[in-house]
């Protein structure tokens, strides 16, 4: 289980840039990122090295930030990789909210960030399916 930051982004010029800029000024490295948006607003989701520090910096800049628990799974960077993980979740009837993926330079694996409704059940199912769950520490050192 790892920590993700979700940030409310108003649909207005320059807001995303402001969020990213405040992190870069504070020397915080973004590990993975995804943006969900509607016509009116967006949610910026981030995995960073120092979650607490990043949250503080964003709040100082008047952003509304929420910490969420998500799952990070390492999968082989090949066509069947993601499919296998989804099969595991599907079999255990775990409800998926959203997911996004990134690749690491250090290994030839891809990493998938998964948000499920019930984190405990998700962990249990993935462990039983022999998926390679990553810890906060793994993500920070990637």
């Amino acid at each position: 289980m790892i920590k993700q930051l979700s940030i409310f982004i108003e649909n207005k010029e320059g807001r995303l840039k402001k969020a990213i800029n405040s992190l870069s000024t504070a020397d915080i490295n973004i590990r993975a990122l995804s943006i969900a948006d509607t016509s009116k607003f967006g949610i910026l989701r981030l995995i960073v090295q120092d979650t607490a520090k990043a949250k503080g910096v964003l709040e100082e800049n008047n952003f509304i930030v929420k910490e969420t628990d998500v799952l990070a799974v390492e999968i082989p960077d090949e066509p069947t990789g993601l499919n296998e993980i989804l099969n595991i979740l599907d079999k255990s009837k775990i409800n998926l909210e959203y997911l996004y993926a990134f690749v690491s330079k250090k290994t030839d694996q891809a990493i998938v960030i998964i948000r499920v409704e019930n984190v405990e059940e998700g962990i249990k199912a993935l462990n039983e399916g022999n998926a390679n769950l990553l810890s906060q520490k793994d993500i920070e050192t990637f």
């Binding site: 409310f8 982004i9 108003e10 207005k12 607003f41 949610i43 509304i64 929420k66």
Partner: protein, 433 residues
């Protein structure tokens, strides 16, 4: 405590007698000294002698904001320029500002009515007033200042803005009375909270909040946040400035200083004078002012009058909280709404702040109303679906309360546009001309 028992607790007969005498004097005075009034009275063939009883005021024509603009800058002054000791103006956001001139005597009257207001709010001579109304041409800063001095309280002339400094002063100087717009008070409380202070760190007991419209719901919110009495103060540049009326601790209407201002309520369409208790436009006549007396000024503020004696012991007439202005009433798809109705609805929803903005647009021939509300940590969810559901829930509540379908948009906090400390609540982008 009552500052001036003689005038604030007068019996009805003596009050009417005093008002009639003062009205007769002022009508004669403006007829002889202000060309505008001579011309206007002559137009309707009314002479000062025609004012035989208070009701005769209805024979006199109204003064509008346009009249004051047309006499810009000094043509409404009734005395020689050398007797004018202070000048203030309105903000002029809707055109040329209106100018208000004061003689030494006028400044004393202003200080007197503010002194009444401070005492009405539970103030005393050992209070420390943090005056965050703007000092300058705006009447707020200097009005409170003159009155605070008269009471013998300590006035901190901090003026508007620089919120960090405001907080520092509030905590370190142990301010006991806060004077500012209600929207700025709210902003201050949010800032205090953000800096880690609680109501235990501050020493405030009352707030005199005015210069913009606010609701009962916002009063409760401010009272909880600061642990104070949040009281309404009313006034306007054209008539004098703040202090024309003030709420006492019973919070059941604003006491008008009737020995200086004569109020009437009219129907803004038919211009007929309405009965006590009926809601309409407030019309004010200054009956003691000498620098710039104003006869029957149409304030555009909507309220009603209550002449019952107040529990506080004062007999002065009370006006109800301003619920709207004849000119900020919005007509959307034929439905009349006031921003205050939206505010009341929002404050009933858990997690929302009273910071909101209304944007009116027209697409084709259809008016669209968008209500922007601030996202708070309580509302914010990581799930798009939940945020959209929240927007819809708010829209439904507004629809239920004001009978109008609106679009609700979540925005980031602290982005509400402001002008001189007054929140800009409504942006009308329709081009109706």
């Amino acid at each position: 405590m009552i500052w001036n028992e003689k005038y604030e607790c007068m019996d009805n007969e003596s009050k009417k007698e005093l008002q009639l005498r003062r009205l007769q004097n002022i009508v004669k005075f403006v007829y002889e000294n202000v060309q505008f009034y001579k011309r206007h009275f002559d137009d309707v063939r009314v002479k000062p002698e025609d004012i035989q009883e208070l009701k005769d005021i209805e024979k006199l024509p109204f003064t509008s904001k346009t009249d004051l603009r047309e006499t810009y800058p000094f043509a409404m002054f009734a005395v020689d320029d050398d007797k004018i000791v202070e000048i203030h103006t309105s903000s002029g956001t809707t055109g040329k500002p209106t100018v208000s001139g004061y003689t030494e005597k006028d400044i004393n009257i202003w200080a007197e009515i503010i002194a009444r207001a401070i005492i009405m709010a539970g103030g005393e001579n050992n209070d420390i007033i943090q005056n965050c109304y703007g000092y300058g041409l705006f009447t707020g800063g200097f009005g409170i200042h003159h009155g605070g001095r008269k009471v013998g309280a300590t006035v901190i002339p901090i003026s508007a803005g620089n919120t960090k400094r405001q907080i520092e002063v509030m905590v370190d100087f142990k301010s006991t009375i806060l004077t500012c717009t209600p929207s700025y008070a709210l902003y201050l409380s949010e800032f205090l909270e953000k800096e880690g202070y609680t109501s235990a760190d501050i020493n405030l007991k009352a707030g005199l909040f005015g210069a913009e419209m606010w609701t009962e719901e916002m009063r409760k919110d401010l009272e909880d946040r600061f642990n104070i009495h949040a009281l309404n103060i009313y006034g306007l540049t054209e008539i004098m400035g703040p202090g024309v009326a003030q709420e006492c601790l019973f919070k059941n209407g604003l006491h008008i200083s009737e020995d200086h201002f004569y109020p009437e309520i009219i129907d803004p369409d038919t211009l007929e004078v309405l009965e006590d208790g009926e809601k309409g436009e407030l019309v004010l006549t200054t009956i003691t002012r000498e620098g710039m007396p104003i006869i029957r000024f149409r304030t555009k503020d909507l309220t009603s009058l209550n002449r019952e004696k107040c529990e506080c012991g004062r007999t002065t007439v009370r006006m109800s909280r301003i619920t709207g202005r004849t000119d900020d009433m919005l007509k959307i798809r034929g439905v009349m709404i006031f921003p205050s109705q939206i505010e009341r609805t929002l404050l009933k929803i858990d997690g929302l702040t009273p910071n909101y903005q209304i944007v009116v647009t027209r697409e084709g021939n259809l008016d669209e109303l968008e209500v922007k509300v601030e996202t708070t940590p309580k509302i914010f969810s990581d799930k798009i679906k939940e945020l959209e559901e929240f927007e819809n829930k708010v829209a439904k509540r507004i629809h239920k309360e004001v009978g109008l379908r609106v679009n609700v948009t979540l925005v980031e906090p602290n982005n509400l546009p402001r002008s001189e400390g007054k929140a800009i609540r409504v942006t009308d982008e329709r081009n109706l001309n």
